[in-house]
Each structure stands twice: as C-alpha cells, then as structure tokens.
C-alpha cells in the first residue's frame, strides 16, 4: 500500500557548531498515514512536531531514517507536488495583493496561467475573501491571513494538505467555515494532516492522531479508540445508605452531589447489576451511559506518564 505519509526511524539531531552538545528534536519516528485520512499531530511545545513537519516538506534534512509522501522520498522535488502547506507563523509578502500572492504560489506549484486565472477567484470565494483579492496583504487581519493562507495551500488542488494551526486567530464563524472546507476536501479524498494545539478541533475533525513527546511517538491510534469508554456511569436519586455502600463495593469511584448519587463502574455488567438494585429499591435513575475520555484527558495522561 502506498501511504500518504510514511516515515521510518525519522530522526533529526541538532548539533551546536562550537560545542559537542546535541539535541534530538525528532527521535526515530515511524508513522503511517493512509490516503484520505484526517490525521492530527499533537504534542506539547518543543515535542518535535514542527521539526517533523519540516522534514516532510524538506525544509529540514533528516539525520537518520526516511520520510515518504505518496511513495516519493521527501528530499525529491516530485514528493512536494501533491502537498499543500499552511505554516503556523507564515509571513506572506506584504507587497502582494491576495490575487498576486495566490498567482505567485500557484505558479511555483507549476500551474499554467489559465489554470491560475480560473482557480484564484474560486478559492477567494471559497475562503470568504472574494471582495479582498485586490487588497494588499499588508492590510489583511490575522483571520484574513489564515484564510488566504488556506487558499494558497489549496491553489494546485493538492492530494495532501499539511496544516499548522489553521484556525489560529480566526473567529468562531471563520473557524466553522474552515472546518466546512476541510470536511468537503475530506469527502473528496484529500488527506489532511493537522498540527494543532486546539485539542477539541482535532478531536472533532481528525480520524487518527499521534501524540509526540520528547521527539518520539508516545501514543498513536484512532481518536474513537483512544477516547473510548473508561467506564460506565450511573446517576440516581434517593439512594439509601446501605445500598450506596453495597454499590460502592464494586464501583471504581462514587460521589454525592445535591442529593444525587453518582457511581462509576469498570464494566457494563457491574453497571447493569447496580441498575437492577436501584430499581428494586425504587430509586429514580437520572442518567446511565458510557463514559468517554476527552482527547485532552488522553493527551495530558500520555504526556504526564512519559
């Protein structure tokens, strides 16, 4: 199978010129991203995410290992043809207009003049900047820069979109608009590789994630698997003390809150037995359901345990 992104033992060591000290920013990362997937890359500051992305784009050369994009070594020019990239702290030339900037990056992507002329107005409309194409980028707000940056990444209809904090500085409406654009692209089969600090955004949008910590992959998998049930919660009212003590014996945790009794079980069987007991004592059951972890909880647990 040809992966959208495939890395094997990818390592980047930075050495200081005048001393023997070295820093392993990325330490043997092996990762596979299937085509058409939405993949989130997470990690605390300094974990090595940016260096990893830069090696995918050949901005940085690996010390060891390799990275491939759709089967092509990232050190080759051809590997970058299917990639659209939006960097985090981008600095677009302020002397250009929105149209001029898209035209420049479109031409660098190898698009001919006719294709660029057709594509640019479409993209400006798509990102909500239809009226701003002839305005100099120096006058754009942070949110507008993100939008035109996204348009720039989409100009040559890439098969792989690498986005670094795409909704940074964008208002909630714009954020929703960006998410809609990305969802439409996902439906078209575009692979989306998202590097974001907004865990809620990654959780709602990405199918798979990898958490990088200290240059290594600390955790990787499908979001649904990683956040999957850490237990079953039952919430009831007017629970007599003797029953509460009985339930407590088999529960993971329990708590009282304003007359409501909440109890968490490891498995479904224990939870069902508790419901039977509560019904037998005619205690009103307020809530019952599987408890999922948020991606944030998974992230913090992973980072703190390493």
């Amino acid at each position: 199978m040809t992966y959208a992104i495939e890395t094997e033992g990818l390592t980047k060591v930075f050495r200081k010129n005048w001393s023997k000290t070295e820093f392993r920013a990325v330490d043997g990362i092996s990762l596979r991203v299937e085509p058409g997937t939405t993949f989130g890359l997470l990690g605390p500051n300094g974990a090595g995410k940016t260096t990893f992305v830069k090696m995918l784009l050949s901005c940085s050369h690996p010390t060891a290992g390799f990275a491939k994009v759709f089967g092509q070594d990232t050190q080759t020019r051809q590997a970058r043809e299917p990639i659209g990239y939006l960097p985090e702290n981008h600095r677009f030339p302020t002397y250009m207009t929105g149209v001029g900037m898209l035209d420049f990056y479109g031409a660098l992507s190898g698009m001919d003049s006719d294709s660029r002329k057709r594509r640019i107005p479409e993209l400006l409309e798509l990102v909500g900047l239809g009226q701003w194409g002839s305005t100099r980028i120096g006058k754009y707000s942070k949110g507008m820069l993100q939008r035109v940056g996204l348009a720039q990444a989409l100009i040559h209809e890439p098969r792989l979109l690498v986005l670094d904090e795409p909704s940074d500085g964008v208002d909630p409406v714009g954020r929703r608009q960006i998410r809609d654009i990305l969802e439409a692209l996902e439906k078209k089969g575009v692979t989306i590789f998202l590097n974001s600090h907004l865990l809620v955004e990654v959780e709602t949008f990405c199918r798979d994630v990898a958490i990088i910590h200290k240059g290594k992959v600390a955790l990787q998998g499908a979001v649904s698997d990683l956040t999957a049930g850490s237990g079953y919660k039952v919430e009831a009212e007017n629970v007599p003390d003797n029953l509460a003590a009985e339930l407590h014996a088999t529960a993971k945790t329990h708590s009282h809150n304003n007359g409501s009794y909440q109890v968490l079980f490891d498995n479904r069987e224990s939870a069902n037995r508790a419901i039977d007991l509560l019904r037998a004592q005619q205690c009103p059951i307020e809530k019952f359901g599987r408890v999922n972890s948020t991606l944030e909880e998974v992230f913090i647990r992973t980072v703190e345990s390493k």
Binding site: R80, E81, Y85, Y95
Partner: protein, 278 residues
Amino acid sequence: MSNKKVIQTLALVVDTFREAMARKIIWGFFGCSTALILFFLLLVKIDVVQGAIATMSLFGKTGQAQDMSKMVTTVHAVISNLLYGFGMLLAILASAGLIPTIFEPGRIELLLSKPVSRTHILLGRYLGNLLVIAANIFYPVIAVWLIFGIKTGVWTPGFLYSSLLTVFMFGVYLSIIVIVGVQWESAVVATMITFAVIVISIILNFQSGLERLLTSDWSRDVVRVLYYILPKGVDIGKMMTNIIKGQPIDSWMPFWSTALFGLCCLGGGLYIFEKKNY
C-alpha cells in the same frame, strides 16, 4: 527547460521585481536616471538650435563634427563611470535585502514546500535581482545613447557594451550578497561584507605600491594572492573606459578572474542553501 520550470522561473523573477518596486530606493534609482535623461535631452536640444549642421555645441562649447565624436565619447565615459560608481552603490543598497528576505521564517518554509529545487529558487531570485538592476542601468544608457546619437549622429556602440560590464560587475557583487545572505540571513551583514570586499579590492588595485610598503615576503605574497582572488572593480572600470573610447584591452585577466570569483561565491551560496535546515 520544461514548461513548468519556465513558469516557476518567471514567477520568481516577477516576484523579485514586485518586491524591488515596493522598495523606495529602486524608485530613487529610477528617478536619478530619469533626471539624467531629461538633463541631456533638454541640454542637447537647446544647443543644437544654436549651431549649423556641421558644428554643434554641447555644454556651451562649439566644435567641428570631428570633435563631436570625442565630446560624445567623453560624455559617455562620464555617464558610464557615474553608473559604475554611484549607480553600483545604489544597486547594492537597493538589492542587498532582496535575497536575504526570502530566508525569513514563515516565508522560506512556504517556498521550500513547493515543488521547486533549492538551486532553482536561489538562482531565480538571483536572476530577478540582476534583471532589476540591469533594467535600471540599461534605461539611462540606452536613452542617453539614443539622445546623443539622434542629436549628433555619433553612434558609438562602446557605450552600450560598457553597460554590460556594469551589469556583470553587479552580478559579481550580488554573488557576495548571495553567499553572505544564505549563511547569515541578514541584509545588513551582506551589505557590509560586500562593501568591505569592494574597498579591499580598490586598495589591492595599488598592488605594486602596497608591495613596496611591506617589509616581509609573505605579506607581499598575501597581497598578490588577494589581488588575484578578489574582484577587480578598478581594472574592470578601466576596461569599460577603453571599450567606450574604442581603445584595445591590454589583458582580460581582470575579467575572467572576477567572473571566477563571482561563480565561486554563487556556487558556495548554492551549496550552503542546499545543506541548510530551516
């Protein structure tokens, strides 16, 4: 060169022009050139009506048609040297930032993420920068050559050839900006080092006088080696004057050794750029 590469090269060149236009110093250069052209346009026009067809006056001096050729050649030489000296200074100041700015964080990553090789990016930028300055040099040279040619009937091609030498010399200085810019990513450092090389090469031009001042053999050898290695701006300037005056060139060594220096700097810049991490 494939169609894609042509599109990419054009994009890099046009982008350099756009960025140059956004800098006021290029407009200053253009303004100076226009003022120079207008000065000669108006001056020649006024003096022509004062004389007969066989005799004309320039700068208030009347001469025979035979002297006219000498007078025009002298004016050409003055303008060439003005462009070669003052123009070069403006050109270096105007374009010193054009190469290092592409290495700014947030901009270089975007350029490198495109399907363009690093060598192509840097050479495209170099070519764009060279063309910006070439346009600014050819503009006054061609205009002044036409003004004097039409008004006096003296059409010496040497003046046009001399502008090629000015562009060549700028190309060599630009290669210093490239290697320094790639290494230190600073327009200020690139400008300082380029000017330092120019000053040192001017001092080294007095090689024989310098050698008399030095007491040890090794220091004389150092001066001699440096003279041959560094660009020979003064010698190229002399070659330029000879070309305008239609005089023979004694030696082409200053030209090829300067070209070699430029190629080495450009090659070094490309090598460092290829290896660098951003």
